[in-house]
Amino acid sequence: MKKILSSVVILLFITAVSNAQIKKATLQASGLTCAMCAKSVYTNLTSLSFVESVDTDLNASAFEIKFKEGQHVDPEALRKKVEDAGFSVSQLHLEFDAKNHKLEHDTHLKVGNSYYHFVNVKSKEYNGPITLHVIDKDYLTAKDHKKVVGGSNLDCYKPGNTTKCVMPNHEVHELNIFHVTIK
């Protein structure tokens, strides 16, 4: 019942489709201090087909990732690569070029093959570069994730519940919806 209810609620969401692309991202990895550990994250990230280049800030364990033009950017793939290296994602910021995008709390935006679900964002028309902070579980440290949970009671966009997010009207792949906020 709960599932059906949330599905109905999801249907009511306005889904905007955007041709704009995510051009770059800043990813911080946690659980490491050594250059050799960072190297394994770096090597893994550069092996992704949609990644153009990766710049590392070794002292902060941060990776600035530039994406290839016209390619779908999959945040899930980025996270898996970091975890395969043996570490975790503690921050993922996606740079998105907004072009008259009307965004508000609880709206969806389709970019490439992914849906971005906006949580606690100011209702307005966005123009120019905006930074999307991914707030799902496993994209933040456990501590930071706790801080953002509680913004909503709805199962679907409760961070960390990406797999349960199904939109009946769209062919949405599981794990293909990301909850983001703009700061």
Binding site: G31, L32, T33, A38, K39, T141
Partner: protein, 282 residues
């Protein structure tokens, strides 16, 4: 003796307020962390010790070849082969072959810190006949080993502890013999390891050579007889190009009554390890 051990423990764990960056790529033990998934790490390790025989001094050496393979982020395995002149008549020969499997069952990451726990099991066949009270998984006896590893990285200091069981499975263990035995078949092994990054103080690139210092306490208590030893092992490590480790270690006995190789003489170790990231990925 007990005082000395507590002092060492204090040095190993009491430096968490130090801001030095640390490493957990220990020279004498394994951390709870695994090699990265789909990557391959090849290692040569040489162990050298001098045995004083009545007529001559003999350099004993063991040469180990290991290949660590990351199946996924949680599971790795490592085939290992050893050659030595430590048994037999002093000639270098193939000595043992084994496999080590490690499963990381807990991982909690935060910025510049983590806590990990892993379980391991090792099976090793050795061509040596039983001789010493010291039981190892390095080729001395045919053994089955299992244990737990806990590694904590706090404020850039990595401390790791291992506790494990060693069971000798050489056939001669079960041969009927009523005389006295010089050795046992079962022991509890443990280690406490700590590592510091001495250079660089600030990272600039992957090509920078890293210099690490390690201090490890390695001990063993026999379970089926009264024998024990506690060793201290300092080691230095260079990491070149963020993929090649060069280790130099020294290991000596702090305390013990076990009947050990070369009358518990100290040993040197030298190892080189190269990691090939992403080897097994399409």
């Amino acid at each position: 003796m007990r005082k000395l051990i507590s002092l060492v423990v204090l040095v190993l764990v009491g430096t968490t307020h130090n801001q030095l960056a640390a490493q957990e790529l220990y020279v004498f033990s394994d951390p709870a962390s695994n090699v990265p998934a789909k990557s391959l790490s090849l290692k040569y390790n040489g162990k050298f010790m001098m045995e004083n025989r009545p007529s001559s001094k003999v350099l004993l050496s063991r040469h180990m070849a290991e290949a660590s393979i990351g199946l996924n982020k949680k599971l790795m395995f490592r085939p290992v082969f050893t050659f030595s002149n430590m048994y037999g008549r002093g000639d270098m020969r193939w000595e043992s072959a084994g496999i080590y499997v490690k499963y990381r069952f807990l991982s909690s990451d935060a910025i510049h810190r983590h806590f990990r726990a892993a379980a391991y099991i090792k099976g090793l066949y050795s061509a040596n006949s039983l001789r010493y009270e010291e039981l190892t998984g390095d080729g001395d006896q045919s053994v089955v080993q299992a244990g737990l590893i806990f590694t904590q990285l706090v404020n850039k200091l990595a401390v790791s502890t291992t506790i494990g069981w060693t069971e000798v499975i050489n056939q001669e263990r079960w041969l009927k013999y009523d005389g006295p035995r010089l050795f046992g078949y079962r022991s509890l092994n443990y280690s406490l390891s700590s590592g510091y990054l001495l250079f660089p103080r600030t990272y600039k690139s992957y090509e920078q050579t890293n210099f690490n210092f390690y201090l490890e306490l390695i001990g063993s208590n026999a379970i089926d007889r009264k024998a024990y030893f506690v060793d201290l092992a300092p080691a230095m490590q260079l990491i070149v190009n963020s993929n090649t480790k060069i280790n130099l270690g020294y290991r000596f006995q702090l305390s013990g009554n076990s009947f050990r190789m070369a009358s518990a003489a100290p040993s040197f170790s030298f190892s080189v390890e190269r990691t090939f990231f992403n080897t097994f990925r399409k």
